[in-house]
Symmetry: C2
Subunit: 158 residues, 2 copies
């Protein structure tokens, strides 16, 4: 399986959450499995909210990056393209929501997401955030595709 | 001025985002100024989404922690207590929303928040996320006070 983040163009592969070229970052990897997308992550000992439990900001960060990767996957699938066959499109987050259902123990977690909507340049992705077999948080993100013209000069003034 | 995070009880002062005792974390500080709460933060060079622009997960993280600190402040103010006069109550996030209005340049930012609702153990806080004089994101968070009985054993099974 090929992680979508490993197919981002070089100039947009430095994201702190998911960029393969950010040596200080989380470097999360998002895979298509059936119709869902999956990512796994193991936090550092200091990624705590209170001792023993995962920091909520990290939970939001992982949902954010995994949703952006998922949006790229769902866009390619909708276009009939195989993951890894070309550079992935790069999505940015317009809106992020997280519900913290219960404390997440500090340990390996899994994110499982699905496409809720795909319309034009916009994709909506919902996520279950899972610790062991318990869903401890849920996320919903609205992602918008970065124009191709921004790939070499992302986010220049419009 | 006293930052609310400097008055959290020791056992809940290890948060990666705002714990004064987390040497690896962001250690943000939230102050009451008039009826608003303020925090300032300068990111590291590697806290990028794409080169030159701040990582969205960090934006969500800062809003999350600053909102929790703000909730503690508003709770104390409502109870007629002066910040620093005793240990602050500790709030945890139940729901977090972030709207990314425009890219945030990688540089110092300021968070300015206000109380939207305070009812029982629940506080709702809205935040403007500001880069230079431009609002680049907004946040809304629902915080719930951690029971005092959990202070020495936070998040134990209920």
């Amino acid at each position: 399986m090929i992680a979508i983040q490993d197919t981002y163009p070089v100039d947009v592969a430095y994201c702190y959450g998911c960029g393969r070229l950010n040596e200080h970052g989380h470097q999360i990897k998002t895979y298509l499995v059936g119709e869902e997308t999956i990512a796994e992550f193991t936090p550092e000992p200091f990624h705590v909210a209170v001792p023993g439990f995962m920091y909520g900001g990290l939970i939001a960060s992982l949902i954010d990056c995994h949703s952006a990767g998922s949006a790229a996957i769902y866009r390619m699938v909708a276009d009939g393209k195989e993951i890894g066959s070309e550079n992935a499109p790069r999505f940015v987050t317009a809106h992020l929501e997280v519900d913290y259902l219960k404390p997440t123990p500090l340990g390996p977690v899994r994110l499982v997401s699905r496409k809720v909507e795909l319309k034009g340049r916009k994709v909506v992705v919902d996520t279950d955030f899972i610790s062991d077999d318990t869903r401890t948080a849920t996320g919903s993100a609205v992602l918008v595709e970065m124009p191709a013209s921004m790939a070499s000069d992302p986010f220049s003034p419009r």
